[in-house]
C-alpha cells in the first residue's frame, strides 16, 4: 500500500475531523451536488415615452444563461419582488428562493430609439454587487446587447468565454408545392435573427466558417453537380473554388484561413485534398481505394483528422496536413465519422455508432478515451462551440431534424427550437 493510500485511509478512519483540543476544527467537503447555479434575472425596469420597452432583455438573458447548462434561471412567476434598482433589492428574498446570483436592470429612453441600458449582477449570499455596466444603444442593438450582457455574466460566473454573442450557420429544408427548398441560414447563437445567405432547390451542404468568421464555405448542388463555394458574409459575394468531376465536398478552412481541405473523387477514389485559396494549387494528401472524407484541421494546422473506410468500416484517421502516413485514431464502435477538432485541440467530436445508434462522442486526445455524449439514434454533424464547452449537433425529433447542444461532459443537453422546418448541419461561428 502506498503512503498516499495509507494517508487516505487514515483520513477516512479519523472521520474527517480534527479534535478541537489539538487544532481548529476543519471539515472536509469532498462531494457536492451536480446542478446548474441558480440565478434570477429580474425583468428590466423601463422609463420611456411608451408603455413598455421595445425589447425586454431579461428573457433573452434568461434563455442564454439557461442554455449554457451551467446556470439555471428562476421563472419570473416565482419571484417575490421585481426590483430594478439596487436599493430595492432585499437579498433575504432571493436567499429564500435559493438563488445564488441576481441580475437586475433598467432600460431608459434617452432620445427616440436611443436607450440607456444598465444592469447589475449580485452575489445574493454575500449581498454585494459583482458586476455592473451602463451602456447606450440603439433600438436595433437591444437584442445584441442582451447577448452581450449574457456573455459578461457568464464569463464572470464561470471564467469561461461566453458564446451568446456568437452565431450559427445551418441548413434548413422546407417543402413548398412539392418542391424542396434548401437554405443556408446564419442566426444568433440563440437561434433568433435568422438570415438566409443562400437558398436553392438543390441540396446545400456542409457549411463551415472561416477562422475569422467572415466567410462561409459550403457545398451546393445548384448546377446538378456538387461544387464548393466560399461566400463572404459582408457583401454576399461568393466564389466557386472547386467543381471537379465527381465529389466536391466537406470543405474545411485551415486555422490560418489560407487553405481549404476538401474531398474530391476526380481521380476515381475519394480522397482528401488541400486547396491553396491564394494560388488555387491542389495537393492530394490521402491515397486509398476506399472513401477518405470529412477532413478537419488541428488548431496548429499540422494535422488533419478525417473519415476513412479503408479498414472496411468508417473510422477516424489522422494524416499530416502536408501529406504523409495515415494513422488510425478510433477503434471503438463500428462507425466513427466526421471528426472535428475543438479550438483548443484537446478533443475531437465525432459521430459514433454502435449497433445502429448514431451518437455524438468526444475523444480526449490526451487519453484517447471516447466519451459518448448523446443518447439519440440519429445524431450527427457535431460542431464545437468556440469556447469548447458545448457541442452543437443535429438530431432527429419525430419526423424532423432539429438542432441540439450538449456540454462536452455530457451533463447538459437541450434542443434548440427553430420553427422553420427541418434543421441540420449546424456550424458554430468562431
Amino acid at each position: 500500500m502506498s503512503a498516499f493510500l495509507r494517508k487516505i485511509l487514515l483520513i477516512s478512519l479519523v472521520g474527517c475531523y480534527v479534535p478541537a483540543s489539538q487544532a481548529e476544527l476543519t471539515l472536509e467537503i469532498t462531494k457536492g451536488i451536480e446542478s446548474a447555479i441558480p440565478i434570477a434575472v429580474v425583468p428590466f425596469g423601463w422609463t420611456g415615452s411608451k408603455d413598455r420597452a421595445p425589447e425586454d432583455l431579461a428573457p433573452i438573458i434568461q434563455a442564454d444563461l439557461s442554455r449554457s447548462g451551467l446556470l439555471k434561471t428562476l421563472p419570473v412567476g416565482e419571484m417575490l419582488t421585481m426590483p430594478s434598482k439596487a436599493n430595492h433589492v432585499r437579498f433575504r428574498n432571493w436567499q429564500a428562493l435559493g438563488q445564488e446570483y441576481l441580475v437586475i436592470g433598467e432600460i431608459s429612453e434617452v432620445v427616440d430609439k436611443q436607450y440607456q441600458v444598465q444592469f447589475q449582477l449580485f452575489n445574493v449570499y454575500r449581498g454585494e454587487q459583482f458586476l455592473g455596466y451602463r451602456l447606450t444603444v440603439s433600438e436595433k442593438e437591444l437584442r445584441r446587447t442582451a447577448h452581450h450582457i449574457s456573455d459578461l455574466i457568464y464569463e464572470k460566473l464561470t471564467n469561461k468565454k461566453g458564446v451568446f454573442g456568437t452565431r450559427l450557420a445551418y441548413i434548413t429544408t422546407t417543402s413548398k408545392a412539392n418542391k424542396k427548398l434548401y437554405k443556408l441560414i446564419i442566426a444568433d447563437a440563440d437561434g433568433f435573427e435568422p438570415r438566409v445567405i443562400a437558398s436553392s432547390l438543390e441540396p446545400i451542404m456542409s457549411p463551415t466558417w472561416s477562422p475569422d468568421g467572415k466567410q462561409i464555405a459550403y457545398v451546393s448542388f445548384e448546377n446538378k453537380r456538387s461544387a464548393i463555394f466560399v461566400q463572404t458574409l459582408a457583401n454576399g459575394k461568393r466564389e466557386r473554388v472547386a467543381s471537379y468531376k465527381g465529389i466536391n465536398g466537406a470543405p474545411s478552412f485551415s486555422p490560418d484561413g489560407t487553405r481549404l481541405a476538401l474531398t474530391l473523387s476526380k481521380d476515381g477514389s475519394t480522397d482528401i485534398y488541400i486547396l491553396n485559396l491564394n494560388n488555387r494549387s491542389l495537393t492530394k494528401i490521402t491515397k486509398s481505394y476506399g472513401i477518405d472524407t470529412e477532413p478537419s484541421w488541428s488548431p496548429d494546422g499540422k494535422t488533419i483528422v478525417y473519415t476513412s473506410d479503408r479498414g472496411g468500416k468508417p473510422q477516424l484517421y489522422t494524416v499530416p496536413s502536408n501529406g504523409g502516413k495515415a494513422k488510425r485514431l478510433t477503434f471503438e464502435g463500428d462507425y466513427n465519422a466526421r471528426g472535428q477538432f475543438s479550438l483548443d485541440g484537446k478533443n475531437i467530436a465525432m459521430v459514433h455508432a454502435n449497433r445502429g445508434d448514431y451518437r455524438i462522442a468526444v475523444m480526449d486526445m490526451a487519453t484517447r478515451t471516447v466519451n459518448v455524449l448523446t443518447a439519440g439514434r440519429y445524431d450527427e454533424a457535431p460542431s464545437f462551440s468556440p469556447n469548447g464547452e458545448m457541442v452543437l449537433y443535429a438530431s432527429r425529433k419525430g419526423n424532423k431534424n432539429v438542432l441540439s447542444a450538449v456540454s462536452i461532459d455530457g451533463r447538459m443537453q437541450q434542443n434548440l427550437s427553430f420553427d422553420n422546418g427541418d434543421v441540420r448541419e449546424p456550424a458554430w461561428s468562431p
Binding site: 451602456l135 444603444v137 436595433k140 442593438e141 445584441r144 446587447t145 452581450h148 454573442g165 452565431r167 412539392n178 424542396k180 434548401y182 437554405k183 446564419i186 435573427e193 438570415r195 438566409v196 445567405i197 443562400a198 437558398s199 436553392s200 432547390l201 438543390e202 441540396p203 451542404m205 456542409s206 445548384e222 448546377n223 446538378k224 456538387s226 461566400q231 458574409l233 459582408a234 457583401n235 454576399g236 459575394k237 461568393r238 465527381g246 465529389i247 465536398g249 474531398t263 473523387s265 475519394t270 472513401i291 472524407t293 470529412e294 473519415t307 473506410d309 468508417p314 462507425y335 465519422a337 466526421r338 459521430v351 455508432a353 439514434r377 440519429y378 454533424a381 432527429r396 419526423n399 441540420r424
Partner: protein
C-alpha cells in the same frame, strides 16, 4: 464606453451580415442601412437562386417520359427498363443479384441508343454523416458505372453524381424507408 463600442461593433457586423440575406427573409429595418451592400448581394444570390429553380423544374415529379425522349418500353412494368432504381444493402455498394438483369437491360438500351446518356444518381439512407453518405452514394453509382462499362456501354454516355442522403425517396426513419433511400437512380438525360 468600451463595452458600448464593442456592442456597437457587433451590432454593425450583424447589420452587414443581414445585408447578405436572400430576399426570402429580409429585415427591411436593417436593410435600409446597407442598401449598397444589398445590391451586390442580389446579383450573387439571385443568380444562385435561379439556378436552383431551373434544376427544380427538371426534377419535378410531373416530368413526362416523353420529355426525355424515351420509348414506351420504360412504362411497361414487365420490362426491366421500367425499373430505374437499383437498391443496395446497408453501408454497401455491392450490386445485389436481383438487379443485375435491370442493369443489363439499361446497358443494352444505352448501347443501342448511343446518343442517350444517363446520370447515375447515388443515394444513401439518412443514417450516419452526410459527407460520408455522399461518398457512399458515389460508390454505389460507381458500382453500376463499372458494371455497365463492362457490359459495353461507352463511358461518355455515363455520368455520376451522388446526393448522399440529401434527397431521400422516403422520409420515414425506419428500415422500410431506408431501403428505398439506399439506391442509385438511372436518369436518362435525353439528347
Amino acid at each position: 464606453m468600451r463595452l458600448n463600442k464593442e456592442v456597437f461593433a457587433i451590432a454593425l457586423s450583424i447589420m452587414i451580415l443581414s445585408g447578405c440575406s436572400s430576399t426570402d427573409e429580409k429585415d427591411s429595418g436593417l436593410l435600409d442601412d446597407v442598401s449598397a451592400v444589398d445590391n451586390e448581394k442580389d446579383t450573387s444570390t439571385s443568380g444562385y437562386s435561379d439556378g436552383s429553380l431551373l434544376s427544380g423544374e427538371e426534377f419535378g415529379s410531373n416530368v413526362t417520359i416523353d420529355a426525355r425522349g424515351l420509348g414506351p418500353e420504360f412504362s411497361d412494368p414487365t420490362n426491366p427498363l421500367s425499373k430505374g432504381v437499383i437498391y443496395f444493402m446497408y453501408d454497401s455498394s455491392q450490386v445485389r443479384q436481383d438487379f443485375i438483369p435491370v442493369i443489363a437491360a439499361h446497358s443494352k438500351y444505352l448501347q443501342s441508343h448511343p446518343s442517350q446518356h444517363i446520370i447515375l444518381e447515388g443515394h444513401a439512407d439518412e443514417r450516419g454523416s452526410r459527407e460520408y453518405n455522399i461518398a457512399l452514394g458515389e460508390q454505389r453509382a460507381k458500382s453500376i458505372f463499372r458494371m455497365m462499362k463492362m457490359q459495353g456501354v461507352n463511358s461518355n454516355q455515363l455520368e455520376i453524381v451522388s446526393y448522399g442522403e440529401e434527397k431521400p425517396e422516403a422520409e420515414g426513419m425506419d428500415e422500410a424507408s431506408w431501403q428505398q433511400n439506399r439506391r442509385v437512380e438511372v436518369d436518362y438525360q435525353g439528347r
